[in-house]
Subunit: 124 residues, 2 copies
Amino acid sequence: MSGALTIHEAAETTGWSPRMLRYIERIGLLVLRRSESGYRLYGPEELQRLRTLRELLAEFDVGLTDIGFALRMRREPELERAVDAWFETEPRRPQDVPADEWLRWEQDKHQKLIPATPPTLEPV
Amino acid sequence: MSGALTIHEAAETTGWSPRMLRYIERIGLLVLRRSESGYRLYGPEELQRLRTLRELLAEFDVGLTDIGFALRMRREPELERAVDAWFETEPRRPQDVPADEWLRWEQDKHQKLIPATPPTLEPV
DNA sequence: CGAACCTTGACAAGGGTTTGGTAAGGTAGG
DNA sequence: CCTACCTTACCAAACCCTTGTCAAGGTTCG
């Protein structure tokens, strides 16, 4: 086999395990070409996306299912519209929420889960 | 208390349990006013959003955490940008990728391919 | 005052997610 | 032909999400 990498080679250069590479394909985050005999083929584009995905998850402390949901919203415009509509109904104005209360919530939320990344949030 | 409902009353008219109403607030999906003594106050807008949220989850079979992630993307533009960027199939230039990898890719470009299975998936 | 609310915090059970491992069988290439 | 890879399918441990419930204490109001 020449050219594209097989799953173990892809695992080495991307930092994912072969098991996770199959999982990532299974949840729809990456569509892979297959060789005639059914082997997954990882080209440079796929490898780069896998590396970027890794950084994305680490940097923002999100999970694969989160990205899976983002994908679902992109694929299902109805879903995206429904979610957008839900967020836009009756936007609560900032002065409705005391600033210190809001800050306290965000601190609590992150102090257990995300030690590394500070929220950097703006009052909407 | 000026017309707003307390948590048990809100639970009855929205179909959520009091426990879940607190949970929904905790994950940031709803910001509630509080009475002087700290009681959560549910006004007509909150009640409507809670009903809509219920329908949203049921209709599309998504979870509260999914909506929580959508909320995070709205609050953290960096995250949204990163996710959007990942989904873009960016045009791949050779310098994005190690030279030998690119070479192997070029050599393999015309290999016969088996189309990937459509990304619609059953749960594992 | 006392009943019936409310608050936060904690424990827990059931189910889904994540990730690895292993097994049975097909494929690639020296 | 042999070895090392690949495939799918299943079992499993560790974790997280969902949801209920209970405890200790504050509030409302008859």
